[in-house]
Amino acid sequence: MRDDTALWDAPRDPAAPIDLGKAKLTRVQLTRQTLVSGPNVLQQTDLPLVDWPGAAPAGAYAAILRRDRVLLVNAPEAPDGWNDTAQQATSDVTDAYTVFDLTGDALPFLQRGAEITPDIPSRSVARLLFGLGVFLYRLDDGTTYRLHVPRAHAEALIQHFEKAASHT
């Protein structure tokens, strides 16, 4: 029985912005994140659809995850479960993903984690970054990159960016 507590850095207070030198990682507290799946969900949503590289507006929007799934950001509350009229499945996942905005000279940081370029669009914002599953897209300012990472991997993502910062 081995106590490995000291092997692992204590998780940072995610509320404090993280200075990466040429970039900055800031925690974003979203009102709500909602998974909505359905055969026609991309046509049904009346929120702006966001893909890669994308341009997410300030208010509510729908980030495309799959051909039949979106992540609604800051959308009105909706009941979890199956909506037979809309043929949609809904789950509140507000606390499942930690959300960061990466500002500054962001692309070199992202390119350390994946073969990634805004020049190659994608219909989905879901990808692997540093081997971690993330949702990644740009805000409509054209420079800020927004990342949703599963909460349990937020600390790992921060560490990856900090390691990248030591090389940029």
Partner: protein
């Protein structure tokens, strides 16, 4: 590092993909009698073609199961196709 094209997401790094199976396998109807040989062939037999292959892959970030035609020697990817009936 190879680039595969998810039918929905487009070209992505091979690390986002998972080889599922050779294409063309159908699960025997287990409500009826299935011989040991039929079941074993379904579970295990492979064409394992050298050259042009047809395989089912999953793009892990979007979980899409799709068909990929590629060359197992040169690694050239000829095409990818969605398995879903109505691509959107």
């Amino acid at each position: 590092m190879q680039i595969f094209t998810c039918p929905f997401c487009g070209p992505r790094d091979e690390r986002e993909f998972h080889f599922a199976a050779e294409a063309g396998k159908t699960r025997p109807d287990t409500t009826g009698e299935v011989s040991a040989e039929t079941w074993a062939a379904y579970l295990h037999a492979q064409r394992n073609d050298k050259g042009r292959t047809r395989e089912v892959w999953m793009h892990l970030p979007c979980a899409e199961l799709f068909l990929m035609e590629r060359d197992s020697v040169t690694m050239e990817v000829y095409a990818t196709h969605p398995l879903r009936k109505a691509p959107q």
